[in-house]
């Protein structure tokens, strides 16, 4: 096979599995993030600050293990851009091999109305001030902002370069086709604007202010993306594994009523448009999504590929026979089990969930820390999956 043929073959494995067509073999995706830096023998701070090193890390990851697609190619921790303004929400501990994110809100509860009145002004004046001390004390200069802008350009150049390399030299299809992307306001609130604690308070106190802010943030960050998606041509992009990505975190703190009110309308609109377009979405809901499975039962096969973090994949197949599954390999097993146990798990998953399509293997969590996986276990699973 030429590289082009191999890339198309791999993309088809994912497309067939997503559509419950028996694929030639069950495809295997890498969900390894910072682990691959440590596995390549680099410090986190070295690779995250040097795109040439990050390129070596990603190349080695594929050369060593041989996946059918790599979901993360060094884009997750773009620390050089914020560091141009002297601050970053990530804490890197090279000794421990960890990266942690500080849950810091940029908006207080009593500022929600101000946020609702003018999102751009709020982000510019208060959001930036709370993230960057030099913005807060007014010492930021044109040169500082130019540096941040230049860093963004370097980052985009890296992403273009590594995508091309992995596509052309390693025959890996892109994980998702570039499409309009709607960022649901509640998740934005949870991740960045109010934080976990703040949003929990907002949903119990003066919900009118929260709703006004959500409307304003959705108007700016959800609506344009969904409108762009509506204008996309019908049909999947068969060069990519999936058409769209919907990653959600905020559902973990929602009760049913809050889910119905704040999150589901936007999820539903997105899923409905994707169904109309005959596209496929990878739905990654962190933690457990089991409480909300009923909402997904009526969608057609081929639309949703669920990537569960904590939920049992066999239970998902039983409860949601219309939903394809991406996942099944516990990081806990890769980190503490034996090669034989890991291969047995992969074998059981492929035989029980993948025999008629509808299943793709990947890790249940972003593989981040050194002890999340033993390299020999990863290699054994990859060899087994390629042998199918």
């Amino acid at each position: 096979m030429t590289n082009q043929e191999l890339r198309q073959y791999r993309a088809k494995l994912f497309r067939d599995a997503s559509n419950f067509v028996k694929p030639d073999r069950v495809p295997h995706m890498s969900f390894f993030v910072t682990w691959k830096i440590l596995d390549a023998g680099y410090k986190l701070s070295e690779a995250m600050n040097d795109y040439d090193i990050m390129e070596k890390v990603v190349r080695r990851h594929q050369e060593e293990y041989g996946f059918d697609c790599i979901l993360e190619m060094g884009a997750r921790n773009a620390i050089r851009i914020p560091m141009a303004l002297g601050a970053c929400s990530y804490y890197i501990n090279d000794e421990a091999g960890t990266v942690n994110f500080k849950d810091k809100a940029i908006c207080e509860h009593d500022e929600l109305t101000e946020l609702a009145q003018d999102v751009k002004k709020f982000f510019w004046e208060k959001g930036m001030s709370r993230k960057y001390p030099m913005w807060a004390d007014g010492t930021v200069t044109l040169t500082d902002v130019q540096k941040a802008l230049d860093e963004r350009t370097l980052f985009m150049e890296y992403m273009g370069r590594i995508s091309k390399i992995m596509s052309e030299e390693y025959a890996l299809p892109p994980y998702a086709a570039p499409k309009g992307y709607g960022y649901i306001a509640l998740d934005f609130m949870f991740n960045t604007i109010r934080g976990i604690r703040g949003l929990s308070i907002d949903m119990r106190k003066d919900t009118g202010a929260l709703e006004a802010a959500l409307d304003a943030v959705n108007a700016r960050y959800f609506r344009p993306g969904i409108e762009m998606l509506k204008k996309a041509p019908v049909g999947p992009d068969l060069n990519a594994c999936f058409d769209y990505d919907l990653t959600l975190l905020c559902h973990t703190i929602l009760n049913q009523k809050q889910f119905d009110k704040y999150l589901w309308p936007y999820m539903k609109e997105t899923l409905d448009v994707l169904a109309e377009k005959k596209m496929t979405v990878r739905l990654f809901m962190e933690g457990s999504s089991k409480r909300f499975w009923d909402y997904l039962k009526d969608y057609p096969k081929g639309l949703i590929v669920m990537h569960p973090e904590q939920d049992d994949v066999f239970e998902i197949r039983k409860e949601l026979p219309n939903v394809a599954i991406l996942g099944g390999m516990p990081v806990s097993l890769l980190g503490t089990g034996t090669k034989e146990q890991c291969v047995e798990r992969a074998k059981a998953l492929c035989e029980e969930l993948g025999k008629d399509g509808g299943f793709m293997l990947t890790q249940d969590k972003m593989v981040s820390f050194r002890n999340d996986a033993k390299p020999e276990n990863v290699k054994a699973v990859c060899e087994y999956m390629r042998s199918l």
Partner: protein, 49 residues
């Protein structure tokens, strides 16, 4: 570059207008709205990081 500073760039919208006019951007100077959108794209990213 900083000698040209005339406004407080941390204020909106004057900071945005100033940066859109003075930063070196891959957007033609004849298209101020596109330049502002480009600069705000950076702010969006910085706020999330």
């Amino acid at each position: 570059m900083d000698n040209e500073k005339k406004v407080d760039i941390t204020k909106y919208p004057e900071g945005l207008e100033y940066l859109a006019e003075h930063l070196q951007l891959p957007v033609p100077i004849e298209d101020p709205e596109a330049r502002k959108a480009y600069v705000f794209g950076l702010i969006d990213l910085l706020v999330r990081q």
